[in-house]
């Protein structure tokens, strides 16, 4: 036993080290993302934001953390206690578990021994596993809503369930094009395929896929404009109505972990990962080059996180039928047609440049939806002849 441990040590320690990095950084990142979010929200709304604790309010996140750890553990009488405790933990565990295959720095595809910026390198179903695991976090929300034994919680849980089921499909569809182009599910290989010039980044070949992916992934994070499962104005707090203190934090850590995951995936799959024109790839690279690659990747991730946060403060929340409509009538057809386009180009061996033609897809979809909207409005004159206003206007 001990001997096998010793023998496998060279394989084991890089994984353990990477796990340590993720476990240490992600909660800290979550804590500080709340701070960054509050600051950005404040600036967008012409306020100042937290500025009392420490320089520029930098210790506010730590103060919040201490406060929330010391909070009373409130367990309502009417909850299903075992599941009530399990749900937030499950939420966070699945969110963190998805990070196992995610490279958080440059990883060479020759997988030499030693420290690598990924826990499990070279997983051939990487991206598939990541999507599968991270969508398990719907269970955390659904179990929590159910265990809370409260109608607002269960409404939130049901909404979340419907939302997850709907948006899984465009999420999967959108990356299929990328996978088909690369010919691999391995995340490191997908990034490797984007090395070289700026124009090798998938965003230029699959802009529609990136759009669909980003939208669907945003919906999976339960953030505004897709935060129907927890929307305060309708459902008190949605699935986390009955949660407080550290259990509430677990849910929120899970949400922020999801944001990190989504941002990393967007950067890795579409924005070229750790590649930047002029920067050598990670295979056989020296440590400074690796660190530079890490910086490039983190900068891209930070950019995506920034967009996600800014979107929250500039877009209103969807109505539920609009949310479903966006997935089923908008994203899924777009994703499907995009996939078919990629399939045609690849199987007929046409030049790759034709893929750019997919950009006209959203324009066609928009043309269709605008025509439909205007047609649905055209009947209003007839409707005005003595019908009540409730029935007069129907928005598709």
């Amino acid at each position: 036993m001990i001997n096998t441990l010793f023998e496998s040590w060279p394989v084991l320690w890089p994984a353990l080290a990477a796990i340590g990095v993720i476990l240490a950084v992600v909660p800290f990142l979550g804590l500080y993302m709340t701070f960054v979010e509050r600051k950005i929200a404040a600036y967008v709304q012409d306020r100042v934001g937290p500025n009392r604790v420490g320089p520029f309010g930098l210790f506010q996140a730590i103060a919040d953390g201490i406060k929330i750890f010391l909070k009373e553990q409130l367990i309502p009488d009417h909850v299903f206690t075992a599941l009530y405790f399990l749900a937030p933990a499950f939420s966070l565990i699945t969110a963190m578990f998805a990070l196992v295959v995610m490279p958080f720095g440059p990883v060479a595809t020759d997988y030499k021994d030693g420290f690598r910026f990924v826990v499990a390198p070279g997983i051939d179903i990487g991206i598939l596993m990541m999507l599968a695991i991270s969508s398990l976090s719907a269970y955390g929300i659904i179990i929590g809503g159910w265990a809370s034994n409260n109608k607002y919680s269960i409404y939130g849980a049901i909404r979340s369930c419907a939302q997850f089921i709907s948006y899984e499909i465009p999420l999967g569809l959108s990356i299929l094009g990328v996978i088909a182009i690369t010919g691999s599910l391995n995340i490191e290989k997908i990034v490797e395929a984007q090395s070289g010039s700026l124009l090798d980044w998938n965003v230029f070949w699959q802009p529609v896929a990136m759009l669909v992916f980003f939208t669907a992934a945003l919906a999976e994070t339960n953030r505004l404009p897709f935060d129907l499962p927890e929307c305060e104005q309708e459902l008190v707090g949605g699935f986390h109505t009955e949660y407080s203190g550290i259990k509430f934090v677990l849910y929120f850590l899970a949400e922020y972990t999801h944001i990190v995951t989504v941002s990393f995936l967007t950067a890795l799959l579409f924005l070229g990962g750790w590649h930047f024109p002029g920067l050598p790839g990670p295979s056989g690279a020296s440590t400074p080059i690796l660190l530079l690659g890490l910086g490039v990747l983190l900068a891209k991730v930070a950019l995506v996180v920034l967009v996600i946060i800014l979107l929250r403060w500039s877009l209103p929340r969807f109505r539920f039928d609009q949310l479903m409509g966006l997935a089923w009538k908008g994203l899924i057809p777009l994703g499907l047609v995009n996939l078919v386009g990629v399939a045609i180009v690849l199987s007929l061996g046409l030049p790759k440049h034709l893929l750019i033609a997919t950009v006209i897809l959203p324009v066609l979809a928009a043309y269709y939806s605008a025509a439909k909207f205007n047609a649905s409005m055209a009947t209003t004159d007839a409707m005005r002849q003595g019908l009540s206003p409730q029935g007069a206007v129907s928005y598709e």
Binding site: Y43, V48, L311, L315, A366, S369, T380, A382, G386
Partner: protein, 221 residues
């Protein structure tokens, strides 16, 4: 939506009489959607641009409160005070008008006849032996100030009243007079009501700018 003529006439007439079917009703037009609108992306981009423009404008409207105090308008309704007349006596004539007017029922007055043999009080009939206001019950409506015939009770611009117990928030006559002394001395709240001339206690009060130094404390407060 079906053609209204096909419906039976009675129902049709009932519908015509509905307020919604009248000519006076203004109908909003649903906007026509262009391709650009239906793309949604330009709208999202312009929303993001607005957010970013505000974020980088650096024009925060926040006031850093304890360091930068707000400017309180002169007619602000804050903590009460009981005014003094020129002789430094409490101006109140214990008429109970404020207590009657108070919607929150938080003023309590016990009147006493003024000491007639005392030369200091010889021109007065009544004065409040006790005068308490429960500042926690008060809704700061200013009705007491409106009701007072001799401008004896006023609301000052003190807005940051705090206390550790409920008892210390019940202000008695001494406390209310000391609020007057403080606020008039600092020039923060000039005597602002100058309506009546109902007796010696209701003499025109000078405003803070040309006011003489505040009168000293009278014999009986």
């Amino acid at each position: 939506m079906s053609d209204p003529k096909k419906n039976d006439p009675q129902k049709n007439e009932a519908q015509m009489n509905k307020p919604s079917a009248k000519k006076s009703v203004k109908w909003g037009e649903a906007p026509k959607m262009s391709i650009l609108d239906a793309l949604y992306l330009p709208a999202i981009a312009s929303g993001l641009a607005t957010a970013v423009r505000h974020a980088v404008s650096g024009k925060a409207t926040t006031r850093q409160y304890p360091e930068a105090e707000p400017e309180i308008p002169p007619n602000y309704r804050g903590v009460h005070r009981l005014n003094r007349d020129e002789a430094g006596r409490v101006k109140c004539v214990a008429c109970y008008m404020c207590q009657t007017a108070c919607p929150a029922n938080c003023i309590e007055i016990i009147a006493a006849p003024a000491p007639k043999d005392d030369p200091h009080w010889k021109d007065r009939d009544k004065f409040p032996a006790t005068f308490t206001i429960d500042e926690l019950r008060c809704i700061y409506c200013g009705m007491c100030e409106e009701a007072c015939p001799v401008d004896a009770i006023e609301l000052t611009s003190i807005y940051d009243l705090t206390g550790m117990t409920r008892e210390e928030m019940i202000f008695d006559k001494e406390k209310l007079l000391s609020v007057f002394d403080e606020t008039v001395k600092s020039g923060q709240d000039p005597v602002r009501t100058n309506r009546g001339n109902l007796g010696p206690a209701a003499e025109l009060s000078p405003t803070a700018k040309d006011a003489p130094p505040p009168p000293g404390r009278g014999k009986s407060g």
